[in-house]
Amino acid sequence: MDNVASLMHGFSVALTTHHILLMMAGVLLGILVGVLPGLGAPNGVSLMLPLTFSMDPVSAIILLTSLYWGALFGGSTTSILFNIPGEPSSVATTFDGHPMAKQGRATEALSFAFLSAGFGAMAGVVLITLLSGWVASFALRFSSPEYFAVYFMTFASFIGLGGASPFKTIVSMGIGFALTSVGMDSVSGNIRLTYDFDILLGGISFLIAVIGLFGIGELLQTMEEGLKFDGVAAKVRVRDVLSTAAKMPRYWFALLRSSLIGIWMGITPGGPTAASFMSYAMAKRSSRSPERFGKGEPEGVIAPETADHAAGSAAMLPMLALGIPGSATAAVMMGGLMIWGLNPGPTLFTDRPDFVWGLIASMYLGNVVAVIVVLATVPLFASILRIPFAIIGPIIVLVCFTGAFTVGSKVFDIWLALLFGLVGYVFKKLDYPIAPLVLAMVIGDKAEDAFRQSMIFSQGSLSIFWSNPLVSTLMAIGLVLLFAPLIGMAIRRLRGREVTRAA
């Protein structure tokens, strides 16, 4: 109950006109940042950081976190409308969100995305409010082997999704892994796979890959088919938003499961992007009609969005209580904390209750503000689709390449985006799945680092992955997820054989 009292105190800190205005400004800025691919939430937050130097810490963090929520929402918007994930964590939203938009259900898809995202964020904040102390001490039990087990679980959940040829899946995932090992290897201090090209030192940016594979690849495909955005000219009415909202309770189970996955990945070091992938995979696996996924299934939008936002807000907790940033954006905010004179750590909650609880209260308010603001923009965004493709197509191209350049201000990235665009197009035509490539790029290097750190811990013995109940449980779940599809397939085969024999 202490926490609830503190939260009430937090609301008294956060609930001022000044702060509400800051939230709205932050959310709007965030949507702008989120809509531009390449210019993601971490950039947005670090660009706003100098502005906050002269603010008091509570106002400053409210502005920055609101910007973060806005960016997450903005990222989903472009994912759904143009198949360009504005934020890395909204990649999984494209899988079903964009097909929905193509079928003329853009308003529905956007409303589902925003409402479920709001739900996920709320779930994350409620967790922070009620269980902050317990979660912080739980997170302390994680070391490299546990980290590896979490990444392993994420992969295992995704790998059995199937559909494509297993060889093509392996090629795609392998390429993702290979690309992520380019550059500095932090475990050995060696520079790998740069072939003496200095430009590769910084590695290959995941954002560039996503802009090319999804944005430009999709445009090429659309052009080839001579498609315009069919049926998108459907009118946007406020009623559509409301009727979608009325459908939300039907998906209560998906919302709940996705929130849990998101919270889990936000507290452990999985992060929002991995959370959205895993949640999508679990939704498809547990669905009674998995074949509808990828073709405009609402649950395929709800699951990744809920998990993404739940993870994004839950990641604030390890940042405040332990000083481990759960996401790239949290890392930038932590830099801000230092400059404002705050030290993240277990005692921050008691040393600076105004700041911590003001922030937590602002997360409730900020997300409500964000959902309202962003829902108000749905008609605006959906009407973009009514602009003729001869104009909007080239403008999307420009947004993609401008975004690619802003990632690291490198000319090389422009070429790279073009190359990834061609690869994305060919891969799509030849049924190479792209999702495994992206997932491997997101967590491949982290998984490798965690694995090799574990091996240094154990001096080369694999038994470390079964050395305590926590890591053993995680590994066991991972193995079950990995082999479940194979077992399922084997059972089906056996049954099939019996049937033929009987016949």
Binding site: L49, F53, S143, I324, M334, G335
Partner: protein, 331 residues
């Protein structure tokens, strides 16, 4: 009468000319601050703090744009500096990695591709163990490590970087042998120690202060020739100034400190170097900077010109010795 006015006129001319010479170079377009670490890292805080002080006190008329180029442990940022040859609008912020990285990795730049401007602070290193560990001082901990070779784990950030160098120096100085586990950053090493997954780390004060406040970790000794400034008590009535130096607690390493450095590309006008030296010197004297240095328990020390060159030469030689022993030097 006429003469005196003319003289005064001459004098005024000279004074103006003199002032003009000091003001010879001014940025004419936005200044780019290149940070050789990712957002949120130590170098990032260093650069952004300076940015905030310059902006607040209007020390540079042009806007300042911060870009993070932390790839390859910061090499990406220095290469960006090399690419900006003779461009005085590109200021690079780093540590001693500017001159140590090319020793341990095959990189496309050398120290001669950069112009040293100044160093503003020395970040300290402290030997930390878990808060409830049974060791009261550095000696008893290291004796325990010595008694069980490869039985203790030291955590740090990155490989072949300051933390591992210092670990290697400790092993040389004491004959102890331990496992070094490289993590992604100091904050990860701090949490791993608080969670009891490793036995010690050699984090900078600022990386561990959050955990020390909670009593989850405790400092044994500081690798500095003298004790740190007194400051506020942090935990259990003890503050930074109460930590003994390593030498006085029986670990014979005189000093190990990491300078926070500022560079320009090669071939920039000497006036431009003088301009940034002037700005940074003003920054280092500002109350905001003093407060930042004190809060992060760094040692404020402004170095430029010959002093800086001597420091770099000495620091490089000391590190090179360790690298050679460990076989990290690349040809």
């Amino acid at each position: 009468m006429m003469r005196t006015t003319r003289l005064a006129g001459f004098a005024a001319c000279f004074i103006l000319a003199g002032a003009g010479a000091a003001q010879a170079w001014q940025p004419t377009k936005p200044v780019e601050f290149v940070v050789t670490s990712g957002a949120g890292g130590g170098t990032d805080n260093f650069a952004r703090m300076i940015q905030s002080i310059i902006t607040k006190n209007k020390l540079i008329d042009q806007p300042i744009v911060v870009v993070n180029k932390g790839g390859g442990s910061g090499a990406e940022g220095y290469l960006h500096g090399k690419a900006g040859k003779s461009d005085p609008h590109r200021v690079i912020f780093g540590t001693n990695n500017a001159y140590l990285l090319p020793l341990v990795a095959k990189l496309g730049y050398r120290l001669s591709d950069l112009t040293p401007v100044s160093a503003l602070a020395l970040d300290e290193f402290i030997l930390w163990v878990k808060g409830d560990a049974p060791y009261a001082d550095a000696k008893s901990y290291l004796d325990a490590v010595k008694a069980k070779p490869m039985g203790f784990k030291m955590g740090g950030s990155q490989s072949k970087d300051t933390d591992q160098t210092l670990t290697s120096m400790i092993q040389d100085a004491t004959g102890a042998k331990m496992i070094y586990v490289p993590f992604q950053g100091g904050s990860a090493a701090a949490v791993q120690l608080a969670g009891g997954h490793i036995d010690s780390n050699v984090n900078n004060p600022n990386e561990n202060i959050g955990q020390w406040k909670a009593g989850a970790v405790k400092p044994l000794c500081v690798f500095s020739p003298v004790r740190l400034a007194k400051g506020e008590p942090v935990f259990d009535g003890k503050g930074w100034g109460d930590i003994p130096t390593c030498k006085e607690s029986g670990l014979p390493i005189e000093t190990f400190q990491m300078p926070r450095t500022v560079w320009l590309p090669a071939d920039v006008p000497a006036d431009a170097v003088a301009f940034y030296e002037g700005v940074l010197e003003k920054v280092s004297q500002s109350p905001e900077w003093q407060e930042f240095v004190a809060r992060t328990a760094q040692t404020g020390r402004f170095l430029k010109g010959k002093e800086l060159a001597d420091f770099v030469a000495k620091d490089e030689a000391a590190n090179r010795k360790v690298f050679e022993n460990e076989g990290w030097i690349v040809k």
